[in-house]
Symmetry: C2
Subunit: 211 residues, 2 copies
């Protein structure tokens, strides 16, 4: 029985290189869920095969900056000269419809979401060890030592922000991490702060039926 009818925003974040995208993908591949994801908006050019509204909403720089001014992003960031952002209206619509919406975003973006949506569930994907994180950052193999080191320093700073999250999920294996996130989502629906109102309303309806 689902008592929490308001929908749930689940923010999956964590340091660069921790593999949060892979964990998110594994989560969506699990059976029996009803999760939905947010399509981001970007100013970068669509790549071959990408469809507007599926991979991203593609807009111009002017349009994006206009939307920033109008407060139309739940969070946004600039990366290698392009903007990326989560449209607020889509998230609000999904939550109003009682959906479970998953955002997989950077630590900086999660900080912005926390200000606007403190009721969201914030999950920090953490590397099992520092050594593991180093290995992952080196694995891409396409970047210079300097860039890898920069990303490593950034990741260490980001791990220091784990305390701001509701949950810490260690990415020891992708399946373990996805499985734990699913347990968290189920548990969060049952949290009294989310479920009590719905439960009491159910009881009242029942009483009316009895009259």
């Amino acid at each position: 029985m689902k008592l929490d009818k308001k929908g749930l925003l689940i923010v999956i974040s964590g340091p660069s290189g921790v593999g949060k995208g892979t964990v998110r993908d594994a989560l969506f591949q699990m059976k029996g869920h009803d999760l939905t994801f947010s399509v981001s908006m970007t100013t970068r050019q669509p790549r071959e095969g990408e469809v507007d509204g599926r991979e991203y909403f593609f807009v111009t720089r002017d349009e994006f900056e206009e939307r920033i001014k109008e407060g139309k992003f739940l969070e946004y960031t600039e990366f290698v000269g392009n903007y990326y952002g989560t449209p607020l209206d889509k998230v609000n619509e999904a939550l109003k419809d009682g959906k479970e919406m998953v955002l997989e975003i950077e630590v900086e973006g999660a900080k912005q979401v926390r200000k606007i949506m403190p009721d969201a569930v914030f999950i920090f994907i953490a590397p099992p060890t520092i050594g593991d994180l180093e290995k992952r950052l080196n694995k891409r193999g396409t970047e210079s030592k300097e860039i890898i080191n920069e990303r490593y320093q950034k990741a260490i700073r980001e791990i220091g922000l784990a305390y701001q999250y509701d949950y810490i999920v260690v990415n020891d294996t992708v399946d373990n991490a996805a499985d734990k996130i699913m347990a968290i989502i189920r548990a969060e629906h049952a949290r009294t702060t989310r479920s009590l109102e719905g439960y009491m309303e159910n009881l009242k309806l029942e009483e009316v039926d009895h009259d």
Copy 2:
């Protein structure tokens, strides 16, 4: 990876007649868990087949009252002329050993536990509807209408205390309820308040290893 090494006290409570004992039993019958339960202490006579230290610790009224004075109970109650209580030392031992200990107790007992162990996870087992609760209370069939009505009134008052719990789990089916409790236990281990210290310690160990 288990980051929370301190053990977890899980308090399952709820109104009279909600079926919390059955839910607890279903929980313990699930596979792959590592839950342990607390053996209560009582002043009632052992029934045939009951073994001291297995079903209950059987003690005299004097012994029980002495223990109350010494603060040796996590919670206790008097019911139909007999005392029932949860020995505090056993719970502390289990938690120290990193165990997951489940207490299935009355609402009044849960209130006492909340004062001594605010870090415990408090789960309120709730009837799906008021009609369902009435049916369950009537089902026993061995009690007078007056007693049933008294238990019903008590249950209604107890439902009003659900807001004091961390989670509300509706006992729509026993398996659903047990399953949801298991998700809650898994999620609670990942809560930052429980897991951050262990996670950071792991990271430090790793750094020392690298030197």
